[in-house]
């Protein structure tokens, strides 16, 4: 153990150094721009992983909190209402607002499990962007809110380069990783795991399932509140169409691809999908165009591709690219011993089981 610590620190330091010099080494602003956007999705994936991966609550409307975070920034830091709360403060404010909505969404769903929970969160994911669309007198409806305040640091505005956003997002991810890992290895993290495995038994351990689940919703939402602020400030615009069901599915696909419940896996999954989205598909389309297939636009097949990835993963590597040991064991058991993995959460403990 002791001997490996310096090695780990060295590797981490190396990784940090590489990430820090990327904008200097690579003068192509498009690449840095891509990384900054992808970083926002890493944050989203880390947040959703708390809800789905740690606590086992299937949330199909996670983009709603992304919307709430983004719109918070648009409302509190633009000409729209003449409010100009600084970006750095908005990171906290939006995290708190999103967390609050996480609790509001969570509260009515506490009794629901599995499919039912998924359906309610799906509904929530639809309602939130619709609400921003319909509150046109405040949000400009489909046009969205533009000309958001530029963040600035020590009086220097970020400007139109992606580089400062890249660093901000990088810093947020670092904090997010520490937070996620701390949570995982704590009293609360164990409580989530216990609830995921057997809620009735968990309650017998003195775990308040209600507050544990609500904290998962709140913390997960807070991540996307932060991501929303960074994303909105960088894009300089928020509009309701950025936060549809497809975004929720995209983030969930990142978890499935990378390995639910595993922080490193989730990061890899989200980077891979962002890369596919922003580079691979447009490039493939370009190549097709130059080859004369002008009607081919692969970016239109984005969701088909996600579908293929999801199905492929389920068949080939169901626990994800970098699975957590626990998930892998669960899945293996599911394949060999359905009774063990069924997680039948009966309220009918011990009743005449023979």
């Amino acid at each position: 153990m002791k001997g490996r610590k310096p090695v780990r620190a060295l590797r981490l330091g190396l990784l940090a150094a590489v990430l820090l010099v990327v904008p200097f080494a690579d003068h192509n602003n498009a690449h840095v721009d891509f990384l900054a956007n992808a970083g926002a999705f890493v944050l989203l994936a880390l947040g959703l992983n708390i809800v789905v991966g740690f606590a086992g609550l299937l949330d199909l409307g996670y983009a709603a909190f992304f919307a709430i975070g983004s719109y918070s920034y648009a409302i509190f830091a633009s000409q729209q209402f003449g409010l100009h709360v600084p970006f750095w403060i908005m990171l906290f404010v939006a995290a708190a607002i999103a967390a609050l909505f996480g609790i509001l969404l969570g509260a009515p769903t506490l009794r629901l499990r599995g499919d039912y929970l998924a359906i309610v969160t799906l509904g929530f994911g639809e309602i939130v962007p619709q609400t921003f669309l319909n509150l046109a007198q405040y949000t400009n409806g489909p046009n969205g809110i533009g000309s958001l305040d530029q963040p600035s640091l020590f009086g220097r505005p970020f400007g139109f380069s992606a580089t400062p956003y890249y660093y901000v997002v990088l810093g947020l991810i670092a904090l997010g990783i520490v937070a996620a890992r701390n949570l995982q290895h704590s009293r609360l993290g164990r409580a989530w795991m216990a609830i995921r495995e057997d809620e009735l038994a968990a309650r017998h351990m003195g775990i308040n399932a209600t507050t544990a689940k609500l904290s998962a919703f709140a913390l997960g939402a807070a991540f996307s509140g932060v991501a929303g602020v960074a994303y909105a400030a960088k894009l300089d615009l928020v509009s309701p169409d950025q936060f549809g069901f497809n975004v929720s599915v995209l983030i969930l696909s990142m978890l499935v691809l990378g390995g639910m419940g595993n922080v490193a896996g989730v990061i890899v999954g989200s980077l891979v999908l962002s890369f596919v989205n922003s580079f691979l598909l447009p490039q493939a389309s370009n190549i097709a165009h130059t080859a004369g297939f002008t009607y081919l636009d692969f970016t239109n097949y984005r969701f088909m591709l996600y579908g293929v990835i999801l199905v492929g993963m389920m068949l080939l590597r169901p626990a994800g690219l970098l699975p957590s040991a626990k998930r892998r064991a669960e899945l293996e058991a599911a394949l060999t011993d359905p009774a063990l993995a069924a997680h039948e959460q009966t309220e009918y403990e011990g009743a005449h089981a023979r």
């Binding site: 937070a179 701390n182 949570l183 290895h185 704590s186 009293r187 609360l188 993290g189 164990r190 409580a191 795991m193 216990a194 495995e197 057997d198 009735l200 038994a201 968990a202 309650r203 017998h204 351990m205 003195g206 775990i207 308040n208 399932a209 904290s215 913390l219 626990k326 064991a329 669960e330 058991a333 063990l340 309220e347 403990e349 011990g350 009743a351 005449h352 089981a353 023979r354």
Partner: protein, 259 residues
């Protein structure tokens, strides 16, 4: 004159019905602190239902359950656990994909202080507490003879080990009342002997124990008092020898298809 001390634990005229089926009917009994009593009866008599009533999984249709003079009627399962009532399950309900150590540490949840912020930030006091709880969990694993399985996932343990792990997990909360639902089920005779010794040591540490068990040898060896249920009603109560000679008990067991 002094008011009588409230019983350590008491069920009074408790009834629990599921639709038309009365699983527990007008049941009363009290426990003295640091006693060990058995709750026996044929299959379907309502033994597990009594446990579920105590831990707040089921609610009594009428009657009261009280612990240290305090009614449990309005408390949730997690609150009842925090009062110091712990249990094991007839159908083992470990956290199957968590390590044995994590299972026991989770059992300590109610006695831990770490807040959400502590968990998020790993504050010094959070670290101290984690270290202490991990140490204690290891001790408990040693206590039940599982120290070498600390890192193994619960579902990989043998049946008998799983039963002992459930006991360690229950003990992690330092309970004053421990409910054991058929802890010897599926154990071989050697494991049963170990279990008897284990339960005796738990009792010696000051814990009050209610034991639901079909194995009469175990019951007779461990318990000074036995309560017999049949079809939700108490049909006998007393010392093991007394109960065994009771004609109603004999009839209940002979009348049932599976004695």
């Amino acid at each position: 004159m002094r008011a009588p001390e409230p019983a350590f634990f008491e069920l009074r005229n408790v009834r629990c019905a599921f639709g038309g089926l009365v699983a527990v009917d007008d049941l009363s009994f009290a426990l003295e602190q640091n006693s060990i009593v058995a709750l026996i009866g044929p299959n379907g008599a309502g033994k597990s239902t009594v446990f579920n009533l105590i831990t707040g999984i089921y609610r009594a249709t009428s009657g009261t359950v009280s612990f240290g003079g305090r009614s449990l009627a309005k408390l949730g399962t997690h609150q009842i656990a925090a009062l110091g009532i712990a249990r094991t399950f007839q159908n083992i309900r470990l956290f199957a994909f968590m390590s044995a150590l994590d299972n026991v540490m989770t059992g300590r949840h109610a006695r831990m202080q770490a807040s959400l912020a502590d968990s998020l930030l790993h504050t010094p006091r959070q670290r101290r507490e984690e270290r202490r709880v991990r140490e204690r969990a290891r001790e408990l694993l040693r206590f039940v003879g599982l120290e070498r399985s600390a890192g193994d996932d619960a579902h990989n343990l043998s049946y008998g080990s799983q039963r002992r792990l459930e006991i360690a997990r229950a003990l992690a909360s330092s309970p004053t009342l421990l409910l054991l639902d058929e802890p010897a089920a599926g154990m071989n005779p050697r494991e049963k002997d170990d279990l008897i010794a284990l339960v005796e040591r738990i009792r010696a540490s000051g814990v009050t124990i209610v034991l639901v068990e079909h194995d009469m040898k175990l019951v007779m060896g461990l318990c000074e008092r036995v309560t017999v249920l049949d079809q939700g009603r108490k049909i006998a109560e007393g010392t093991p020898a007394h109960v065994r000679a009771d004609p109603r008990v004999i009839e209940a067991y002979l009348g049932a298809s599976d004695p």
